[in-house]
Every structure is written in structure tokens, then in C-alpha cells.
């Protein structure tokens, strides 16, 4: 197979890069070994206020058929199922309630089998309880519940049960766990609101995150719309001539291309690995860095903070690039001139702390996909 651009990874930054490259008329293929961290994401899109490339986000909104709400200028608060208010610029529409408009009015928050304990909830008047589910549902995971609610009669049943259990007139809004359907979740939420007679919102995804799966699926349907094929498989090897990558091999097939984009994520997604001896970037064996220091040979104990609650250097490790997102070695020299890296595989990007990971993924994906030659 011969294409213009090979993107490795089908998470947020990989899809962004693929769509961007495709918009220049390039023939693009995405290779991925499976779903990674994007499919587990919470539904909140964390970006720093006033980001560098707002047009990147605008394009994403256009390409990906998810209704997204928020603003570039400031962060909003989104309620997670464990009760924290997470700060983020955007989220999928169903999570977005501007709490400032609520005032002292009561908000009802319903957990699945475990109560939600919001913190801090200083100025908010929150009442917590449980979704009235049947005891036989007690071991169903959120995606299963969401799939079930794709059927209109199930939505009616749930809404009726909520209506019977709670006196909704005294509440300004209702928060449910993110289980309101997969395929038709916007419609389902509307239907709930109609039956219940108050605005309905979803909390962010936790483990087995439904919003994460919605995002992953939306990204893939954007690829389909742009006629970008996804090859399911693991890159087993690559060939290069001096500083130029010629091809990668996947499922025993050689894929030749002019440009390669690495969007493989960190450890969980499979982009980074620490074996018996050393840290590795798993596809091209690139040098890895933590704060400009090469760490391929660094012992693990120097990359973990003894306190679990602290930011972990380990999860900020990654590939270092020049200003064109081309990976470099410890001397600042380009490793392969036709390779770019984007997303969380980059060093300095901490997907879990820091609050702008989503923004970095979108912006670097957008920039990595800017291939005009």
C-alpha cells in the first residue's frame, strides 16, 4: 500500500492530524492497535484559556458531530461522578450547566448505586440521591445501561421512575450519571427533559466512561466521512533510509508513505513502555525525555514521586520535538525528518494533571497534520 500520510493512533490527536492532512488533499491512512485513553476520557475538554489556535477547536467541532459547549476565555465547572467539580473550557453539551445561573436554587444529583458527594459545593444547593434502578441492574456497567437507554421505551421507564420517586418541582436541574444512550444521546436527553419538565444534565464519565466512548466513536465516524481508512493492527517494524522513514509494516503488509505521524499516547495507550531495562517509544524507538533530560536509561524510582497525590514525572515523560513537532534527540538533532509527533506521546504533556491536555492534543494534532508538500 502506498499513501501520502500514515497516522499511527486513533485517539483525539491522531484523528485530528489525519483530518487536517486529509483537508490538504492528502491520501491518509490511520493505523491503530486498539482504543486507548481517548475512549476512557471523561467528556470534559481541558484547554488553557485563550488557546493558541482557536481555529483548531472550531475545525474539530465542525468535523466531529458532537455538540460541544463552553468558551475559550474561561474555565467552567463540570461535575464528576465522584463529586469533584472539574475545571475545563469545553465539554459535550449534556455536561454543560453554567452553575452561576442557578443561584440558590436546588439541584438534584443522582448516582448509580453509590451516592455522589460533591466537593467543594460552597455556594451550591445540591441534593444527592440515587437513580431509581432495579436491584437486578446492580451489576450493570454504565455502557450497558447507556446502550439499554438507546431504546425509547426504556427512557420513558427511567424518567417515570424518577418522576415517581422525587418531587421535581422544587429543583432547578437534574444531574444523572452519563448513561443517557449511545447512538441517540442528544435526543434521549431531550426526551427526558420533556417527560420530567426540568433541564437534565449528565455528570462526567468515570470508569467505563460512556462520554469517552461517545467521543471515540464520533472521531471514527469523522474519519469515515472523510474517507480515511483505519487499519486495525500493530506496527511491527519500519524501514528508513538515513533520516527518512520509508514504510511501516502492519499485519505483515508494508505501508509506504511520504509522511508519518506518531500519535500513540503514553503507557496505557501503548505509545511508551518500560521493559526490564529501559524506557522505549514503542514504534520508532525514539529517545524519551522528562523536562529536557533523556530518560531511556533512568531508573523508575527517579521518575516517581513517593506521594501518590503528587504529579508523577513518569506520566509527563515522552518524545521531545522541535518547533515543527519533529522528534529530536538529546543534542537537538532531528531523528527522522518526515516524522511528526502529537498528543500525549509528547513529553511535558500530563494527561491527568495540569488541565490542558485536551488542548495540547487538538493543537498538536492540527499542527502535525499541516502537510502541504
Amino acid at each position: 500500500m502506498k499513501v501520502d500520510v500514515v497516522v499511527i493512533g486513533s485517539g483525539l490527536s491522531g484523528v485530528m492530524a489525519a483530518l487536517r492532512a486529509s483537508s490538504y488533499g492528502k491520501k491518509v491512512v490511520v493505523i491503530r492497535k486498539g482504543w486507548g485513553a481517548t475512549a476512557l476520557s471523561s467528556g470534559a475538554f481541558e484547554i488553557s484559556p485563550n488557546p493558541l489556535l482557536p481555529q483548531a477547536f472550531e475545525l474539530l467541532k465542525k468535523w466531529v458531530s458532537l455538540r460541544i459547549q463552553g468558551s475559550y476565555e474561561e474555565n467552567h465547572l463540570f461535575l464528576s461522578q465522584t463529586g469533584e467539580f472539574k475545571k475545563a473550557a469545553f465539554a459535550m453539551e449534556s455536561h454543560f450547566l453554567d452553575f452561576r445561573t442557578i443561584g440558590r436554587k436546588k439541584v438534584l444529583v443522582l448516582g448509580i448505586f453509590s451516592p455522589v458527594i460533591p466537593r467543594p459545593a460552597k455556594d451550591l444547593n445540591i441534593v444527592c440521591d440515587l437513580v431509581p434502578l432495579h436491584a437486578s441492574d446492580v451489576n450493570l456497567l454504565p455502557p450497558v445501561l447507556a446502550k439499554r437507554l438507546d431504546h425509547p421505551e426504556e427512557v420513558k421507564k427511567l424518567a417515570q421512575a424518577i418522576k415517581t420517586k422525587f418531587n421535581l418541582q422544587s429543583y432547578a436541574a437534574l444531574f444523572l450519571p452519563p448513561i443517557l444512550g449511545f447512538e441517540f444521546f442528544s435526543d434521549i436527553r431531550r426526551e427526558c427533559e420533556t417527560i420530567l419538565g426540568l433541564p437534565v444534565y449528565e455528570m462526567l464519565g468515570g470508569s467505563h466512561s460512556v462520554p469517552g466512548l461517545r467521543l471515540q466513536k464520533a472521531l471514527e465516524s469523522a474519519l469515515r466521512k472523510a474517507n480515511i481508512p483505519i487499519i486495525q493492527g500493530k506496527v511491527s517494524s519500519f524501514s528508513h533510509e538515513k533520516k527518512k522513514i520509508m514504510s511501516v509494516t502492519v499485519n505483515e503488509e508494508e505501508v509506504l508513505a511520504h509522511h508519518f505521524i506518531l500519535a500513540t499516547g503514553k503507557f496505557f495507550s501503548g505509545g511508551l513502555y518500560k521493559g526490564v531495562d529501559a524506557f522505549q517509544e514503542t514504534v520508532f524507538g525514539l529517545p524519551l525525555f522528562y523536562e529536557n533530560k533523556k530518560i531511556n536509561e533512568t531508573p523508575i524510582r527517579d521518575l516517581v514521586d513517593p506521594s501518590f497525590s503528587k504529579k508523577q514525572p513518569l506520566f509527563q515523560c515522552g518524545v521531545k520535538t522541535n518547533e515543527n513537532l519533529v522528534p529530536v534527540n538529546e543534542y537537538g538533532e532531528v531523528v527522522y525528518e518526515n516524522l511528526r509527533a502529537c498528543g500525549t506521546v509528547l513529553s511535558g504533556v500530563d494527561p491527568y494533571r495540569g488541565g490542558n491536555c485536551f488542548g495540547v492534543q487538538v493543537v498538536t494534532g492540527y499542527r502535525a497534520g499541516e502537510i502541504m508538500t
Partner: protein
């Protein structure tokens, strides 16, 4: 006024408390942390005869084997047979010599209901365990009994309580009250910082590694030769059977399929530090991995999920290597040193806890002039009154609407006590919820552990149910478990969760590798948000 005050909630403390209570003594057990949170919990979890003790310590092998038979009778649900392969590595090795050694061990097999050894060819060994190194020439088989040491403590303590004993957990003995060379009682400090006095006629120092420290408080001396041992825990049963092999310095170690995990152990090194500050080191981890890698090469690709360390309170001897130290126990009656009513017991093994308890209780009874005989070898532990067959468990699970596997695990931990837990689920069907999927642990068992077994933290729940001890290391279950603790005891769930995660992180972070890192990354994704400022 208590007849006897026991200091230390390990297996000896719990065993003695049970024996004393069964003989009608007014008994108080005091533990500074949780039951089985010290040496007992850090053991290999085996009631074994001790093949390696045969070389230095025949008496220990015999008493352990004999008592293993008793423990099987009083808690049949709590034991599981562990078939072992003693691997023969070198070509031209004199198997006959080793076999002679095993023939001696066979003499003790019937005492502990074990099977006699057999000799396996290379081909037979690979059929059993395909993951072994091709350099393995053959193996000898034997078997031992696994036990959950935490459950063993809890069940002894529960029986003691049922017979009128009092228990004070998370309560530290700060002083021992002595008047005119006779002990009168103890001063304790509870977790809220308050101090109280408890009076008693006899005080038993069963505090394991802390024995010397307590002895100092009354001006007597018991010298120990403490030995540190560590274990590594893997996320699943890596091998089909247990593998015994030798380390670089010719020590026996093993890789053990243990409940839903595998454990690799152990080291034995003199320990001079503070038993309250115990860390596993890189050096110890590598020592074990290197030894097992030689016979089981894929070990480095397996997912290590934790480490733990403990201190053996071995009896003092000068001039011996750690391994050749006797595992025998000894009772020190300090009356000879002029302090009447203060007795220490040190040394011993998990397998001989009941016998040691009996011996010590005999002495206590003699001093108090009580004639009651020991019944701990015939009277079942709570839940061991009757066995339930696997077919019955499947039937009960069906009726209760839960998975048969989950119920079989509850049966393993509770024996007949599973009926109480099933009853709880019948009354509250929502408590059928699986909180920890790796074990699995259902909500009802967690509530039972909190209300009936003194669990007050997520770590306590873990010791009782193995919650958060499997592959996910709490990623999914720690928050719902914290919320149950809040519901029952009103504890701050954020503090509870952070405390548990920190303990787990400390025991694993310095040794993270391979898939363990991916799992920790997932945990950060799920729980990191709690700690964001």
C-alpha cells in the same frame, strides 16, 4: 480486672485469646494497628511443614505438620492444597540424594494430609508447566497447604469475642503498670489520643518484632534475631502449580499461585532497623526476580501489582546464617527476672500458632490455678462447624441471584458464615453489587466486615476480603468502598481513599515496569482528579 491481657493481634495473640477465652478466662486483646497487620499478614500464607527446616530443625517440621492436620479439621474451608514442583536444574545432579531428603519429608506427609513425593521426568514437568526454562531436567513433587493468614486471625479473634473476650484495636500499649514487682495492668493510648488503664493479673507480650521494646518497659530483656522477608505479588496465577527453586546463594524460594494472584518469596535477611519503618528495596526485588527468572523466564513480562515486607521475630542466636536459624518458639516467664505476671513468647511459625497458643495458655492456666483443658484443636473456628459442597454452593448462588464464583470466594473466607452474608443480600438486594471485580467482593461482605469484623478503613476491608488486592489495585473499588465506610461509620471517604492509595503506591511505585505502569496510568486517570488543586 482481666485474668489475662494479651498485647499483639497477630496470629499468636488471636490464637491465645481464643484459647484463654475458651477456657473461661476473662481476656483482653490489645493491638496497636489492625489484626494481622504485622508479621502474620506478611507471611507466605502457608501452613507448611517446612521442607527447608528439615535440615536444621526437625522438631519444627514435626510439630508444624502435626498441627497442620488440626487446623485442617477446625477450619476446613480456609485451607487449599498447593502442589509444588521442586525443580531440578542441573544436568548430572544427584536426584537420588534429593529424593532421599524428600523420603524423610514423606514421613510427615500423613500428619498434614499431604501426598508423598513423586519424581517427574523433564517431559512430565513441561506438560504440567509449559512456561519453564528448557534447562529444567525434571522435578520432585510434594504439597503444602495454603491459608489466608488474615482470615485465620479474624476467625480466632471472633471466636474469642464470642466467648467473652474483649478486643481493643488501633490501641497502643504505652506503659505496663508494675507494683512491687508484680504486673497490675497496662496503660493504653487509643487512636483519638486518649489514655486509659486496664488491669489484669497476667500480661502476655506477643508483639512479635516489638517484643524487645515492650520488655524494656518493665526492665527485662528478650533478645531476638529479627529477619526481614519480602514477597512480590503478581496480578494472576502465573503458574499452574507452585515452583520451588534455589537462589544464587542456594536458598529455597518459591513462586506460588495464591488465591487469585501469584506470590514470589521470600528473602531472609538480618534486620536492624525499626519494625515500624519497613521498606522493600530494589535489591531484594531483583534478587527474587533473578532467581525465579532462571527457571521461569517470562516472569519479567508478568504484571507485578505489589510488594510486602515483614519481620520474623526469630530467637536470638550468634554465629549462624539467617536460614539456618531455628524456627522454634520459646516462652519467657519473667518471674525469674523478678517481674511476676509478665510472660513473653517469641519465635515460631504460622503453622505452629495453635500449638504455641496451647502451650502458653497451659502456663497461664497453671498460674491462675485453672484446670480447663485445651479444646482449640477439636473445636471448629467460626464457620467450620460443617462443610458445604461445591454443588450446594452453586445451588445457593442460583437461589441468591449472585455468581457462584463470588459465593465460593465468600465460602472460602467465611465457611458457614456465608449464610449470614446471603441473608444480608436477601434483605438488601442492592448489596449484591460487585464492588471489587478482581476478587470479586460484593457489597454485603464489605458491610459484614465493617459491622462484624472490626474493619474501619479500606486497608482493613482489604485484609478481610481482599478488596483492592487484585489486578486493579483499587482503581475501580476504592471509591465505592470508601462510600460504604462513610455510610456505616461516617468516615471521611476522601481521607480513606487517599490513605489506601498512598499505601499501595508506596509498595509498588519504585518497582513499576511493563503493564503495571499502564495500570497505574489508568488509576491516575480515574482517581487523579481527587488530588488536583
Amino acid at each position: 480486672m482481666y485474668d489475662v491481657i494479651i498485647i499483639g493481634g497477630g496470629v499468636n495473640g488471636c490464637g491465645v485469646a481464643r484459647d484463654c477465652a475458651l477456657r473461661g478466662l476473662k481476656t483482653l486483646l490489645i493491638e496497636k494497628k489492625d489484626l494481622s497487620s504485622g508479621t502474620t499478614g506478611a507471611s507466605s500464607g502457608m501452613i507448611h511443614g517446612g521442607l527447608r527446616y528439615l535440615l536444621h530443625d526437625v522438631k519444627t517440621t514435626k510439630t508444624s505438620s502435626l498441627d497442620s492436620g488440626y487446623i485442617q479439621k477446625i477450619a476446613p474451608f480456609l485451607l487449599f492444597r498447593i502442589p509444588f514442583l521442586y525443580l531440578i536444574h542441573k544436568k548430572g545432579f544427584h536426584v537420588e540424594l534429593l529424593e532421599t531428603f524428600f523420603e524423610v519429608y514423606d514421613r510427615y506427609a500423613s500428619l498434614k494430609n499431604s501426598k508423598k513425593h513423586t519424581r517427574l521426568s523433564q517431559q512430565e514437568v513441561f506438560q504440567l508447566e509449559p512456561g519453564l526454562s528448557s534447562s529444567i531436567q525434571g522435578a520432585l513433587t510434594f504439597d503444602e497447604w495454603g491459608i489466608d493468614p488474615y482470615r485465620l486471625c479474624i476467625l480466632n479473634a471472633k471466636d474469642a469475642k464470642a466467648r467473652g473476650a474483649d478486643l481493643l484495636l488501633h490501641t497502643e500499649v504505652t506503659d505496663i503498670l508494675v507494683e512491687e514487682k508484680i504486673v497490675r495492668g497496662v496503660e493504653v493510648q487509643t487512636s483519638d489520643g486518649k489514655r486509659h488503664h486496664h488491669l489484669g493479673k497476667i500480661i502476655l507480650n506477643l508483639s512479635g518484632p516489638w517484643i524487645p521494646k515492650l520488655c524494656k518497659k518493665v526492665g527485662v530483656e528478650v533478645k531476638l534475631r529479627p529477619g526481614k522477608g519480602i514477597h512480590l505479588v503478581f496480578d494472576r496465577r502465573i503458574s499452574n502449580v507452585a515452583l520451588a527453586t534455589e537462589t544464587i546463594d542456594k536458598r529455597s524460594i518459591f513462586l506460588l499461585p495464591y488465591q487469585n494472584t501469584s506470590i514470589l518469596g521470600t528473602t531472609d535477611d538480618d534486620f536492624y532497623g525499626d519494625p515500624d519503618c519497613l521498606d522493600v528495596t530494589q535489591d531484594e526485588v531483583e534478587y527474587l526476580l533473578e532467581a525465579i527468572e532462571r527457571v521461569f523466564p517470562s516472569i519479567r513480562n508478568e504484571r507485578m501489582i505489589g510488594t510486602y515486607a515483614g519481620i520474623r521475630p526469630t530467637l536470638y542466636e550468634w554465629g549462624k546464617t539467617e536460614d539456618s536459624l531455628s524456627r522454634e518458639h520459646k516462652i519467657f516467664d519473667h518471674e525469674g527476672e523478678g517481674i511476676k505476671g509478665f510472660i513473653t513468647m517469641a519465635g515460631g511459625k504460622l503453622a505452629s500458632y495453635r500449638l504455641m497458643s496451647e502451650e502458653l495458655t497451659d502456663l497461664v492456666c497453671k498460674k491462675l490455678g485453672i484446670k480447663e483443658k485445651c479444646t482449640t484443636h477439636v473445636r471448629p473456628l467460626p464457620g467450620g462447624e460443617k462443610t458445604i459442597s461445591h454443588a450446594e454452593i452453586i445451588e445457593m448462588a442460583k437461589e441468591g441471584g449472585i455468581s457462584a464464583y463470588a459465593l465460593s470466594r465468600i465460602y472460602y473466607r467465611h465457611g458457614l458464615g456465608l449464610k449470614t452474608i446471603l441473608e444480608m443480600m436477601k434483605e438488601n438486594p442492592l448489596w449484591k453489587r460487585v464492588i471489587c471485580a478482581s476478587e470479586p467482593v460484593l457489597e454485603a461482605e464489605i458491610r459484614y466486615a465493617i459491622s462484624q469484623e472490626w474493619a474501619g478503613s479500606i486497608s482493613d476491608i482489604g485484609r478481610r476480603t481482599r478488596l483492592g488486592w487484585g489486578g486493579c489495585q483499587g482503581a475501580d473499588c476504592v471509591w465505592p468502598a470508601a462510600l460504604i465506610l462513610k455510610d456505616v461509620l461516617g468516615k471521611d471517604p476522601h481521607f480513606q481513599m487517599a490513605d489506601f492509595l498512598q499505601k499501595r503506591w508506596k509498595a509498588l511505585a519504585p518497582f513499576l515496569q511493563g503493564e503495571s505502569i499502564a495500570q497505574e496510568e489508568l488509576k491516575q486517570r480515574l482517581l487523579g482528579g481527587f488530588f488536583e488543586s
